[in-house]
Symmetry: C2
Subunit: 232 residues, 2 copies
Amino acid sequence: MREFKRRSRVLLIDDNADHLRGVKELITLESCYDVVGTTTSANIGINLAKKYRPDIILMDINMPEKDGLQAIQEIEKLGLDIRVIALSGYDDADLIFRAMKIGAKGYVLKTMASAQLIYAMDEVAAGKVYLPTALTSRFFEYFQNSFKEEAQASAEENLLTYLTAREEEVLDLLTQGNNYKSIAGKLFISETTVKTHVNNIFQKLQVNDRTQAVLYALNNGFANRRLSKIAV
Amino acid sequence: MREFKRRSRVLLIDDNADHLRGVKELITLESCYDVVGTTTSANIGINLAKKYRPDIILMDINMPEKDGLQAIQEIEKLGLDIRVIALSGYDDADLIFRAMKIGAKGYVLKTMASAQLIYAMDEVAAGKVYLPTALTSRFFEYFQNSFKEEAQASAEENLLTYLTAREEEVLDLLTQGNNYKSIAGKLFISETTVKTHVNNIFQKLQVNDRTQAVLYALNNGFANRRLSKIAV
DNA sequence: TTTGTCTTACATCTTTAGATTGATAAAAAC
DNA sequence: GTTTTTATCAATCTAAAGATGTAAGACAAA
C-alpha cells in the first residue's frame, strides 16, 4: 500500500546538533522518508512545522532551553495532522506517560537501534500509535498505578450506592452547577420536591451542603463530563 | 533465570467449556506452566483464586453471567499478587482500556496464535505488563482521545490565572467543602473578608455560586487529590 | 392485604450564601 | 511620590439553601 503513496516528509527537532546530523543521515540513507527540515530549536521547529506541514516530526524532548513536551503540545494544538514521535534519552515512566497523554504518536529511546526508529516511523506514518514493547510495559506500570488509589477508594463502602435513581438524577444535576430552580425545571417537578431529594442525598452521603455532595460524587465514581470517557 | 524458579501456576476462567479445554491443553503441552484449576464460572473462579493463589489467571471477559471485568476488579482488590491476563474475543478499544485500567497485566485476543498467548504469559510472569502491538495501538487511540477535550479546554483562556494568591487559597478551601465560617477560621480572617474574596472569585471565574466555582476549578487545573497524579 | 420504599409535594423556619457599597492600610507598580 | 492592586473589615439586604415535619399516590414485595 505504502509504495503507492508519496514519500512521507519528516521534520527533525533536536538540540544536539551531532545527534541531529546522525538521525538525518540515517533516515536519508536507510528509509523512504524525506527530511524536509532540521533544527536545534524547539521554537523554530514549531514555525517550520507550520510552514512545511511535515507528516511526521521527530522531537527530542530532553532539550534544556524549551521543554519538548510543551513543544509537542503546541504542535498538537495547531490541529495540522502532524504526527509527532518523541525522542528521549530516558525510559522514565512519567515522561512516557506525559508524552503519550499530550498526543505523541510514538516514543523512541535514542539508545535504541536505528531499525527501531524506522519501524516506529513506518507504524506512525500508517496511522498507528507506536511504543516499543519495553516502554509499553513501563507505561502501563505508571498508568495502573495512577488508578490504584481510585480502585482502593471504590473498594470502600460507596455511599452513592444508597441513592435512588431519582436522587442520582438530582445529584447529577447538582454536579453540573444547577440550583434548585434549575433542577426543578429540568426534571419537571416542583422546587420543594427537589429540596426533599437534595436533603435525602445529604443524609445518605453524610454531608452538610451541596458543595460537599458534589465533591463526594466526583471523588467516588460520579463522573463529570470530562472524565466520563475514562471511567470504568 | 526462569528455569531456576518453580513453574508458574495458572488458573483458567472461561465460560466456554470447549475453549477452556483447548487452552488448558495448549498450556499443558506447549508451555512450562501448571494449570492448577479451570472453571466456567467467574464466581467460582474468584474462590479458586483465593484457595490456590495462582501466579496467573487467564480470564475470559466476555462472559454472559458475570462481567469478567468486574471479576478482575474483585481479584485485584484481594491484593494477592495474582496477575490477571484478560482473554477477549473483541479488540474493542474501550474494553482494552477498561481492562488495563482496573489492573489486568495483559489482554490477548482469543483469535491470536497460541504462541502469542504463551509469550504474553511469559512476559506477565516476569513481572511485565504485556499488550500485543496491535492492541497497544488501539489502546492509545482511546487513551489520547480521552485527553483531547482536556487539552482543548486548557488551550482556552484559563480564568484561574486572574486570581490573586489569597483568592487561590480561598478557592482551594472552597474545593474542600468549607463554608464561610470554616474558611475564616483557617485563614485567621473575618467571615466578611472571606465573602469579599469569594465574591471576587465569582466575578473572575464568571460563575454564580460556589458549586460552579468549585467545578470550574476542578475542571481547569485546580487538582484535587485524586487526579493530581495524572496531570501533565 | 399489608408493609415498605419511592416519588411527589407543601409549609415553615433558620441558616447560609451572595450582592452591594463603602472604607482603611499596606504593598506593589508606575 | 502618586496610583493601582491587594487584603482586610463592616453593614445591609435579598435570595438561596438547608432542616424538619407531614402526607398522598404508585408500586413492588412480603
